[in-house]
Subunit: 326 residues, 2 copies
C-alpha cells in the first residue's frame, strides 16, 4: 500500500509550516506530569493537554491549518464538513477567524454540549441521520448548493499536518521520547503525530489507542487491509469514525502499533486523570492512558508522550467506576 | 476588636518571607482565563488554580510554611492537627518533606479520597466523632501523649502567611486587581489573601464567598461579634468550620465583604468551571465564582481575581444541575 498524492507530500516540514500558520490563533497547550501516576505505572508520562486547546480539543489545530491554507478565492466560497462534534466546532471557529462561512452536517443524535458550542460559533448546522451514508449524501447536497470547500475531518492533508503540531510542540518542550500515544479513530491526529514524531525522533514508537467496541484500526493493521466498523459500541463518542485510507497508509509506513482498550479500562483511566491531574477530559481522550495501563511491560521505564485529545464531555453522562479497578 | 499578637505581626513582609520559605516545595500554580465566562459575567476574571497545588489544594502553602518555620528543636517533636481533609494531607506532606512525624485527628465521616491521600503521605491518623468538642479533646490527648507541636488549620500566623502566598503570586503575575474573591470557612485563606492583596493594592476589595448553609462569617460581620454555626448544611465540605477569632479580626481590619451562596448556585458555578476551564475543582472552591455570578453589578467591568482553592472532589458524589440554571 502506497501513500497517494497529496498525502505523500506530508513531511515534518509540512508540520513546521502548519505550526507557523496556526500560531496566531491556536493555544500552545501545557504539558502536565503526575508523580503518582508515574509511580503507579513505572514510566515517565508527559501529558499534552489539548483539552485546553481552543474549542476544547486538538481538532482546532487541523481545521485552523486547513482554513488558513486556502487561497483567498477558495476561502471566499466558505467551508463545509460533516462531523459528530469537535471538528465541527473547530471548523466553525477557524472559519469565523478567517471571516468566511462554515456549513456543518451533523448527526441528529450528537451530544448537546457539542451542538451548542458549534451554534455559538456561528456555523450553519444541517442535521442528518446518524449513518455514514446520510452524512456523505447530505454534505454533497450542501456543497452543491453553496459551492463551499470540503474540509474533511481527518482524510485531508492540511488537517493531518495541523493535528501533528501538538506532537511537535510536545517534543520541542520535553525533548526526546521513547513512545507517543494518542487515540485513533479516523486517524487524523495519529497520522499527524506519526509524521511529526518520526521526523524528529526516528526510532520513537507510535501507538494508537482504540476502543475495543470500534476496533477497525486494530483489524486493519492485523489484516493489512483497511477494514470498517459494521457497528460501534463504546462510550468514546469521539472514536466511532472509521479509519481513513490515507491515514492508514501513513500510519502503516510509520510502523504504528494499535492497542485496544475496553470501556471499563477507559473509565478507570479517565478517573485517574480527573483525580490526579485535576483536569477535565472526555472519555475518548482517556483511551491513551488506558492503553498504557493495560500494557505496562511495553512502556516500563520509558519516556512516554500522551496526547490528551479533548475535554468536551457531557458531564451528566459520566458514570465513575470504583477507584481501585485500574 | 483588635488583632492580638502574634497575628498583629502579619504584614505583607510575612507573606514575602513565606513565599521564599515554601518556594522549594510548593508549585507555582497557573492562572487561567476564560473568554466565554468573562463574556457571560461582564468582567475580567483571573483564576488562580490551587487545585494544581501539591496535595490538590492551597492548604499545602500554609502547612508547609508553618512546618518549615519551626526551629529544629520544635520540629523534632513532630506536628499535630485536626482537619477534615486538605489541611491534614498538607501537614502530612510538609512533615514528610521535613522528615518529622505528623499526627492527624480526623472525623470518622471524612470522605474517602481525603482519608486515602493522608494515609499515603505517611501521617498517623486518629479518628474521632464529627464534633468540634471531640476533635479538640482528641487532639489535646494526642499532643499530651506525643509532645507534638500543634499546627492549627487556620488560626495560626504562619499558616495564614503561607495561604497568602497564592494571592501574592496571582498579583505578581497579573498586576493590579479591583477585587479578589476566595471561599471563607475558618478564614486562613481569606486572611492571608487580605494581608497580601491589601499590602500590594491598598484599595482592592476583599470578598469572602460562604455557603448559606454554614454562614457564620456573614453573621459575624453583620453583628460585629464572632458567631458560630450550630449546625451546617452544605455540599461545600471544606467550608463547614467556624471562622477563627484572629482570622475574623484580620478580615474586619481589611473591610472584607462576605457574600453567601446557595448550594444550587455553587453547583452551577462548579459546572461552569468544569465545562469552560476544563479543570477539576471541589464544590467548596466553586463558591467564589458563584458569589460573582450572584452579584454581577458589584463585579461588572472589573478585574477580579478568583482563588480556586482545591480539587479534591469525591467524583462519585457529584450531581450536576442543568447547565442553563446559572
Amino acid at each position: 500500500m502506497s501513500i497517494a498524492a497529496p498525502f505523500a507530500d506530508l513531511t515534518l516540514d509540512a508540520i513546521w509550516r502548519a505550526a507557523e500558520r496556526i500560531a496566531p490563533y491556536a493555544h500552545r497547550t501545557p504539558v502536565l506530569r503526575s508523580h503518582s501516576i508515574d509511580a503507579q505505572i513505572g514510566a515517565q508520562l508527559y501529558f499534552k493537554c489539548e483539552n485546553f486547546q481552543r474549542i476544547g480539543a486538538f481538532k482546532f489545530r487541523g481545521a485552523c491549518n486547513a482554513v488558513f491554507a486556502l487561497s483567498d478565492v477558495e476561502a471566499a466560497r466558505g467551508v463545509a464538513t460533516h462531523s459528530s462534534g469537535n471538528h465541527a466546532a473547530a471548523l466553525a471557529l477557524a472559519a469565523r477567524l478567517r471571516g468566511i462561512a462554515a456549513h456543518v452536517v451533523m448527526p441528529h443524535n450528537t451530544i448537546r454540549v457539542k451542538i451548542d458550542s458549534v451554534r455559538r460559533l456561528g456555523a450553519t448546522l444541517i442535521f442528518c441521520e446518524a449513518t455514514q451514508a446520510a452524512r456523505t449524501q447530505t454534505l454533497a447536497e450542501v456543497i452543491d448548493a453553496t459551492g463551499a470547500v470540503e474540509i474533511h475531518p481527518f482524510a485531508h492533508p492540511q488537517v493531518i499536518a495541523g493535528q501533528g503540531t501538538a506532537a511537535l510542540e510536545l517534543l520541542r518542550e520535553v525533548g526526546r521520547l521513547d513512545a507517543l500515544v494518542a487515540p485513533i479513530s479516523g486517524g487524523g491526529l495519529l497520522a499527524g503525530t506519526a509524521i511529526a514524531a518520526r521526523g524528529l525522533c526516528a526510532d520513537i514508537d507510535i501507538v494508537g489507542a482504540e476502543p475495543s467496541g470500534a476496533d477497525d484500526a486494530a483489524r486493519s493493521f492485523a489484516s493489512g487491509v483497511l477494514q470498517g466498523n459494521t457497528h460501534t459500541d463504546t462510550i468514546s463518542d469521539g472514536l466511532r469514525a472509521d479509519l481513513g485510507a490515507p491515514n492508514f497508509a501513513i500510519l502503516r509506513a510509520a510502523h504504528t502499533r494499535i492497542l485496544t482498550v475496553t470501556d471499563a479500562q477507559t473509565l478507570s483511566a479517565l478517573r485517574l486523570i480527573y483525580e490526579r491531574l485535576k483536569i477535565v477530559v472526555e472519555p475518548s481522550c482517556a483511551t491513551a492512558l488506558a492503553a498504557i495501563t493495560k500494557h505496562p511491560t511495553f512502556f516500563a521505564a520509558r519516556r512516554v508522550g500522551v496526547i490528551l485529545s479533548g475535554g468536551n464531555v457531557d458531564l451528566d453522562s459520566l458514570r465513575w467506576p470504583e477507584p481501585s479497578s485500574l
